[in-house]
Symmetry: C2
Subunit: 124 residues, 2 copies
Amino acid sequence: MHDALSQTFAALADPTRRAILSRLSKGEASVTDVARPFLRDMSLPAVTKHLKVLERSGLITKTRQAQWRPCKINAQGLRGAADWIEDYRRFWEESFDRLEAYLKTVTAKPAMKGRKRGKPKQAQ
Amino acid sequence: MHDALSQTFAALADPTRRAILSRLSKGEASVTDVARPFLRDMSLPAVTKHLKVLERSGLITKTRQAQWRPCKINAQGLRGAADWIEDYRRFWEESFDRLEAYLKTVTAKPAMKGRKRGKPKQAQ
DNA sequence: TTTATATATAACCATATAGTTAAATAACCA
DNA sequence: TGGTTATTTAACTATATGGTTATATATAAA
């Protein structure tokens, strides 16, 4: 699974990493500062690894400042994911019922060929 | 990682599963129909597993109709993910610069205590 | 009852993920 | 130089993931 979108979603599929992004959305922070709230639950190298996942997926960037590596959010990396999900928004918004009815008229042609024995038709 | 949001993002972190959702957004379909486009690349049980992941994460539901299990999208399951990402939208929209400036005035108080030797300050 | 279709499960394998501890590297300070 | 702080890397472990093939189950059809 190497595509960018999969990497983004995979990066978001961890509460620690989402918390890190939330923290960084309030401003840059060093690795130690990012790690502080998690050190009761995991070691510093564990946080370093999470940061690496976020960096690889383009959701944060790291710069250098003396012996510190300030981390900065790059929420642009969320655009792809946001756009993807956006395509499904209509499914949970109020116009859903009317839209579903419309879709049923649009997708009425059977997409399943070679059907022989009363197979269930798709949305009609 | 058991929380709902993590499960949703994890389910989305696979191109096959996203393609399945895309297919189901156009209407209900049986397991075989859902699987058809993927059978050059993987076996039917592999698709069954993907469907199970989508089902566990609440993104689809399966019903029964004779020997078929029509699958139906439940994009409501995307709401949580959409809402989470939405909080970061401001980071990639045009008002970003002005907003960042505003945030800097808001988050000016140092969140890093015990600092001794010219540690980098956070967004100020 | 037998056969065919649709789907699920079992057992297995390879790789990825998320954590650990210990050691290495890098920059600053005295 | 030597010591301290910040961060990364290495080596390892346990579990999860995504795939396989073979088998089982359920319903329908002949």
